[in-house]
C-alpha cells in the first residue's frame, strides 16, 4: 500500500506541476477574471453532468490499468506500476468529471507548486480508499463484498463529488470578484 501510494503521489504531483507550468508559460498575468468565467462555465457543465441534467461524455482514453502486472512482476512491482499508472489520472478510466475541473484550475492558476498540491491532494483522496477499505471490512476476505457495497452506495460518492463541484464554482466566482486567482 505504501509503494502504491508513493508511486501514485509522484506521477500525480508531476502531472499537476506540469499543468501549472504550462499555464504559467501560456497565460498572461492578468487572467483572473476570464479564468474565473471559464472555470465557472466548465464546473457548471461538470455539475450538470453529475446531476444528470446533461449527458456529456468525458474526454478520456478509457483504458484500465493492467491487472496482469501482479502475475508478471510480483505484487510489489505491480503496486509500484499501478500507482504510477493511476497517478497519471487521465491515462485510465474516469468515472466522474472533477479531474478535468482540477486540471483546468491547475492550468489557469499557472503555479507549478499549486498544481502539484492540487493533484497530490487528489491522489491522497484516491489512495485513501486503499487505507480506509480494510478498516471497513469485517473479515480479510470481504473485498468482493466491500466492492459490491461501494457499487450500491455509488450515489453517495457522486453526491460528494457534486458538493465538491459546487465549492469549485464558489472559488471560480471569487476569482471574478477579487480579480486574483490566489
Amino acid at each position: 500500500m505504501v509503494t502504491y501510494t508513493l508511486a501514485g503521489a509522484l506521477t500525480s504531483v508531476l502531472l499537476g506541476a506540469g499543468l501549472g507550468l504550462v499555464g504559467a508559460l501560456a497565460l498572461p498575468d492578468d487572467m483572473a477574471v476570464p479564468a474565473g468565467v471559464l472555470g465557472l462555465a466548465v464546473a457548471a457543465v461538470a455539475m450538470a453532468r453529475e446531476i444528470g441534467v446533461v449527458a456529456v461524455p468525458l474526454p478520456q482514453l478509457g483504458r484500465q490499468t493492467q491487472g496482469m502486472w501482479a502475475k508478471s512482476y510480483g505484487f510489489t512491482a505491480a503496486a509500484l506500476l499501478w500507482g504510477l499508472d493511476l497517478g497519471l489520472v487521465f491515462t485510465t478510466w474516469l468515472t466522474l468529471s472533477g479531474a478535468w475541473v482540477l486540471a483546468l484550475a491547475a492550468f489557469l492558476v499557472g503555479k507549478p507548486l499549486f498544481g502539484a498540491a492540487l493533484f497530490g491532494a487528489s491522489w491522497l483522496g484516491r489512495a485513501l480508499s486503499v487505507w480506509v477499505g480494510p478498516l471497513l471490512m469485517e473479515r480479510a476476505t470481504d473485498t468482493p463484498r466491500l466492492l459490491a457495497t461501494l457499487y450500491e452506495r455509488r450515489r453517495l460518492f457522486r453526491s460528494a463529488h457534486v458538493v465538491g463541484l459546487a465549492c469549485t464554482m464558489l472559488v471560480f466566482g471569487s476569482w471574478i470578484l477579487s480579480g486574483t486567482t490566489m
Binding site: 482540477l102 487528489s122 483522496g125 480508499s129 459490491a148 452506495r153 465549492c167 464558489l170
Partner: protein, 62 residues
C-alpha cells in the same frame, strides 16, 4: 441456486453498508470543512480540499 449462494456470500451486509455510508459522508465532510476554514483567507485552499474529495469519490467507479 449456486448464483444465489454466491450472491449471499458477496452481497453487502447491513454493517458494511452502514460503515461505507458513514465513510462516504464523513470523509468529504471533514475535508471540506477543513478546506473552508483554510479558504477564508485564501480561496485556493478550498480547491485543495475539493481535490481530495474528487479523488475519494472516484470510489463511485470501484
Amino acid at each position: 441456486m449456486e448464483a444465489a449462494i454466491a450472491d449471499e456470500r458477496m452481497g453487502p451486509t447491513p454493517a458494511l453498508a452502514r460503515r461505507v455510508r458513514v465513510a462516504a459522508i464523513a470523509v468529504p465532510a471533514i475535508v471540506l470543512l477543513a478546506g473552508a476554514a483554510a479558504g477564508i483567507r485564501r480561496p485556493a485552499f478550498v480547491l485543495v480540499a475539493v481535490a481530495v474529495v474528487f479523488g475519494w469519490s472516484q470510489l463511485a467507479g470501484a
